[in-house]
Symmetry: C2
Subunit: 233 residues, 2 copies
Amino acid sequence: MENLPEHFDSLFSVDCVIFGFDEGELKILLIERNEDPFKGWFALPGYFVEHTEAIETAAQRILYESTGLKGIFMEQFYTFGALGRHPQGRVITVAYYAMIRLTGNKEVAPLPTAHFAKRAVWMPVKDMPELAFDHSRIFRKSFEKIKNKISYQPIAFELLPEKFTLTQLQQLYEVVLNKKLDKRNFRKKMLAYDILKELDEKQKGVSYRAAKLYKFDKRKYIKNFQKELSFTR
Amino acid sequence: MENLPEHFDSLFSVDCVIFGFDEGELKILLIERNEDPFKGWFALPGYFVEHTEAIETAAQRILYESTGLKGIFMEQFYTFGALGRHPQGRVITVAYYAMIRLTGNKEVAPLPTAHFAKRAVWMPVKDMPELAFDHSRIFRKSFEKIKNKISYQPIAFELLPEKFTLTQLQQLYEVVLNKKLDKRNFRKKMLAYDILKELDEKQKGVSYRAAKLYKFDKRKYIKNFQKELSFTR
DNA sequence: CCAAAAGTGTTTGGCCTACACCCATGT
DNA sequence: ACATGGGTGTAGGCCAAACACTTTTGG
């Protein structure tokens, strides 16, 4: 507990795993630390929670400082408090994940307010290096959670652009679940749920047959399913 | 932050939801507080985490002090840190649940070491009063978790006696899922998983046809399923 | 012999799986 | 015309759901 900033006696922090999907790849937002410990390492965006700040509020603040986005749904998924996880003392961290729409503009991130970061990058999950602290472990746990959750909750749509093709949707499932899905079966099933709105619009700028665009129809979803359904199998 | 014990500046605690199943009822272990705030109210067993203590260790300690049991698997399920949740200041609490075998001896609980408790009771879930702090909310969240988990992980067996009848097993599922299940389908499915060992032994002391006893066969379970299966539908 | 719960099969419909070819578009 | 992905249907197997009566035992 030697030389930590004054927040330190609050002893707990928030770390955020912020997922994005772009160019067929699942990515997460990492910052490069410009402070010791782990200066120069990549880490999850995270920081200390203030004494008078709710944990959720802190998570929203970190998200905002990292991406400029507000009001994104974040889900708490685990709290990490092993004794040795912070080299300078006891820090317990509450971990959240969020899913955000990159929609081609990769420039969601980071605002200069994110003083804890030298820079931020959208790192493809498949290329991730070892992260600072126990952040690799935190990431793995978040990934298990979304893998599980995407199968029965409509979280995929939070990652896709508002208008998307069925192939994009399928690619996202394939990346998260790490397996190939059958195109015909996937479409049949997804359309059978009746939660998508087919648009009178097609993909543009592709050098092959343009695909129809769809929107997630939240009203239909709520109507058809109180709570649960199974998106793959 | 006026007059709390010296632990208070550690600012975080552990609360445990300890489930048991007895006489066809799901119960949880509650303590009656003998300290302010909420003196005389029922609450979940919980206490402050020491500075040099891992969170899991604290959870195990609380479980031990509340029940005399050691080495029971506990799962962390959520962290509660709303600003107003503790009337005397900021306390963040990490919540765990555990499932224990009551096996007719309801006297699991509490040891005198549980200084924070005046007494402890196994309270049927259906009779629960409003609890101290935000503990009712914590309980509800734990219940959602086990309801979900019991459907695809073999946690039911942790609650039952080592030797149990299929009817007991079914009753447990019915209580947790809060719905009736079909006897024939339930048995067919459960036996088809091939994770139970049929014993050469029958129920005793009942005034009707005695049922066969079964054991959960962990070896078969691990062999047949790496990780997942679905126990009901 | 009565009360109470144990134990037992079959049918039906729906869903998941596997599988391959033609179509539309841009270059 | 060719390359690229878009878009489509069917058959078989398996699983889940619905459903009611006979058996065993203790009192």
